[in-house]
Amino acid sequence: MEFIFYFGDVFTPVSFALLLVGTIGGLILGATPGLSPTMAVALLIPFTFQLEAAQGLILLGAAYTSTVAGGAVSAILLKIPGAPANIATTLDGHTMAQKGQGAKALQLSFLSSAVGGIFGVLLLIFLTPVLAQWALAFGPSHLFWLAILGVTVIGSLDSRSVVKGLLSGCIGLWLATIGFDDIMGAQRFIFHPSLGGGINIIAALIGLFAIPQVITMFARGRRNDAAEVIKVEKHPIGGAIRELFRNNRAMGIGTVTGSIIGLIPGVGGQIAGLVAYDQSKKFSPQRDKFGTGHPEGLVAAESANNAMVGPSLVPLLTLSIPGSPTAAVLLGGLLIHGIFPGTDLFDNHPDVAWTFINSMLIGQILMCIFGLYVAGLAARIAMVPQSVMAAVVLGLAVFGSYSVQSSMGDVYVMASLGVMMYFLERFGFSAAPLVLGLILGPIAESNFIQGSMIANATDGMAPYFLGGGLNIFLIAVVIASILYSGYLELRSRRYTSKEEIMA
């Protein structure tokens, strides 16, 4: 309960001003395509040089929470996920915006972000010591099985054909191997100099989601279709809150999944949203509506990717191990002031530690308020004529993918992947499983190689990868996930064939 004593520190004029700057700035940066939360926080580090430790961290903490939420804005309105965390948001969020329910989608996304986010930070406050042990429990073998668990999701994610979903996933897994392999340093599949650094995930995300959409708009041609202009429905905030509580199952699944996955170093926020989305789809009686602008999917994805913010900092704050790239950048923000995370932080600088954590708590609420305030206005983007929209998204995609690493190569990769994805989508492939493969490939590979090296030096492959409670548990979950997907697939097939007979 120590944190309550430090709440006052957040509300001093300077601190609160910084909190506001961090939150609003974070929302804008997060909504900019190509700027992941990690980059946004790294951009703000120089400003903290001039500030006191606690104040600097208020700025960074607020920016971290709100960039994660801000990513949902471009995911919903433009179908450009700002970071891997927002992929699942595009699936239902953008479809809602296309139906004119952009305001509702944004409101729901900010509300569920806040609920998930606050839960995550509370976990960080109350359960840090327990969680730290849990975070350390995941070794290479467990991370490998976790990645495989992610792979089992591929077939059922946003694709009407399991084979094509799996094939999309394979393409993604292969794309991830392009470049230098991380452990041996060997070059793989570098058939063009732009690929020398491998495929940057942010640039790939922009290409795979934004470009097909631009081309689809081109394909509609030059038409004067006043009738098709989307009416943006106004949506009362009260209604959004009620809607959120109607979707409490999705919110619960999202929050819990996000918190658990966010805790695991190295896997973290990248897949939290997608796994939560898939889980709530499996548990939902209305699972057929997922992907067609169903609020449940949006709520699950957004509550998960903000719930991971708090727990993802547990390994950093307690053990001084940054569990995610963003945590690594925050570590820099602490070190610059001579503060070492770990016991030193909580014993000798409790004011810094708790002010930082409190600022994330209050940052979540401020973020939600601002978000709700602008949601109605931002949703009007859907009214922009598609000729303008196509050109705007194209320009943003080019600038966004360039700014990731100031590299023309990333822009070429973005465009090539995008054009390829447009044609693949026309033939029944889909982007979400491909991206999941792109994310999971490196996790599975490096942990498998590392694990097998440890295994060969110690007790051998089978006991290392198959032994131990956590391994067995994860394998059981993998098998259950496959069986359940198969069961659902068979059942839906039987239904469709019955319908066909009836027809």
Partner: protein
């Protein structure tokens, strides 16, 4: 065996390309050295090529259910935009500098796809204003706020 319709032909071409990529990937993974570094690619490539072959087979037999292909009208609609976008990304952006290239590409795309009549002066004015606003926002966001140094050849 039904007729060789356009979507079916497209499906054959599409899945054929994927299968060809799969075969290439498999070939490369099994021939390149060091073999430790290609262990994982081999695993992926094997699954990849099996799935791709199955999809190709289904497309040839005309069993494909998912995916609508691209109609002739859609192709003629998207071709000019796609060409402009590719010229913009692969040549103009680097050759002319980001802002100049974006201005040109944006304006051309707008003129191609904006339904407002090409004969009226008013619609041209509107396009110029929209382009100017967009470039101003992009410049403010990326050059001034984020300080990204984009390639600059002509002008800013």
């Amino acid at each position: 065996m039904s007729d060789l319709t356009l979507p079916r032909l497209q499906h054959i071409i599409g899945s054929g390309t994927v299968a060809a990529v799969g075969i290439w990937v498999t070939y490369v993974s099994y021939t390149q050295q060091p073999s430790e570094a290609f262990l994982f690619p081999r695993l992926i490539a094997t699954v990849f090529v099996v799935l791709a072959a199955w999809t190709f087979f289904k497309a040839c037999m005309g069993w494909t259910k998912v995916g609508n292909g691209i109609s002739v009208a859609q192709m003629t609609n998207l071709a000019p935009g796609l060409v402009v976008a590719m010229v913009y990304i692969f040549w103009m952006a680097k050759g002319l500098g980001f802002y100049t290239a974006t201005t040109i590409a944006f304006f051309v795309l707008l003129s191609l796809y904006d339904p407002a009549p090409h004969r009226a002066l008013q619609s041209w004015l509107k396009r110029i204003i929209i382009t100017a606003c967009f470039i101003a926002v992009m410049y403010g966001l990326f050059a001034l706020l984020l300080k990204v140094f984009t390639p600059r050849e002509i002008m800013f």
